[in-house]
Symmetry: C2
Subunit: 153 residues, 2 copies
DNA sequence: CAGTATCCTTGCAGATACTG
DNA sequence: CAGTATCTGCAAGGATACTG
């Protein structure tokens, strides 16, 4: 599939299919985006945005990440050219990870999104409360929040 | 203990301007962020950024989404206050979805990230090529790319 | 320290059927 | 049209053990 920037810049007119190529299923940018927005990608990019870290430092910083996932995500990010890995063949080994300029640019956009969401959390929280209240009184017999409870993955 | 920072923002010079609580495991903003960056959240936000749509219009626009996932994601986004749902009790029923101002702001940041990644895809692609080449010649005997092949989420 | 290999659980997400 | 309910597969990702 082509990944041209078809109607990316908000083409309100074209209706039928995808307007955003990233969203096309077989697009390479989709993969990179998932490394970035994935469960651990954002965390790691965020941690690395503050400096350079060694493997286990990173592990401690990113709460809850397993060795496997850290290693895996780091490799994906390195392959995408967002993270630079510098290994010193000493004993014991020392490996430092840091963002590339591209990784830094990506991290900044991602962080902008994150901060926006955080700043607006009060709004989100009250919206959730309203939603739950309405659901509770109208859907009494329907039992608990069905499939929509929380969409997280 | 809700949204404490995990340590991600605590040690470097500019630590205090970063509030990384999203990264803490039991944080509500983490959930909202996942609705947004999740597999379908971005798609739907992107589609809705162009206007108002009915359920099945959305289904056609967002390539590959099932009724279930569309419904589920829409509910999560509505609950978070990012999407507004307007149902008309007519027959047949007509329901329109559109972004709230907050949803619009979020969609814009998300799109900024997406466009950045797209713009820089050439860099990403060449980085991947380099990575794969190096891996291929040095890791010949060490076995295949193991877990790192593609991070995929 | 810096990973890799393997097993196994969890729950996301797809397909299908049904309702108002 | 606009959803909900349910059953199920499959892969992401956690735990654990092992290596250089």
């Amino acid at each position: 599939m082509d990944c041209e920037r078809t109607g990316a810049a908000s083409s309100t007119a074209d209706a039928e299919n995808l307007a955003f190529d990233v969203f096309a299923r077989a697009c390479p940018s989709r993969g990179t985006l998932e490394h970035v927005t994935g469960k651990w990608g954002g965390l790691i990019l965020g941690a690395l945005h503050e400096g350079s870290f060694r493997f286990n430092e990173l592990r401690r910083r990113v709460d809850g990440v397993s060795e496997k996932m850290l290693s895996q995500t780091l490799h994906a990010l390195e392959r995408d050219g967002l993270v630079h890995r510098e290994a010193q063949p000493t004993n014991p080994p020392r490996v430092d990870y840091r963002l590339t300029p591209l990784g830094s640019a990506v991290a900044e956009r991602l962080l902008a999104l994150i901060y926006l969401v955080e700043d607006r959390m009060p709004e989100v929280l009250s919206a959730q409360e309203r939603y739950d209240t309405v659901r509770a009184e109208s859907g009494e017999a329907a039992g608990r929040a069905t499939t929509a409870g929380r969409g997280g993955r």
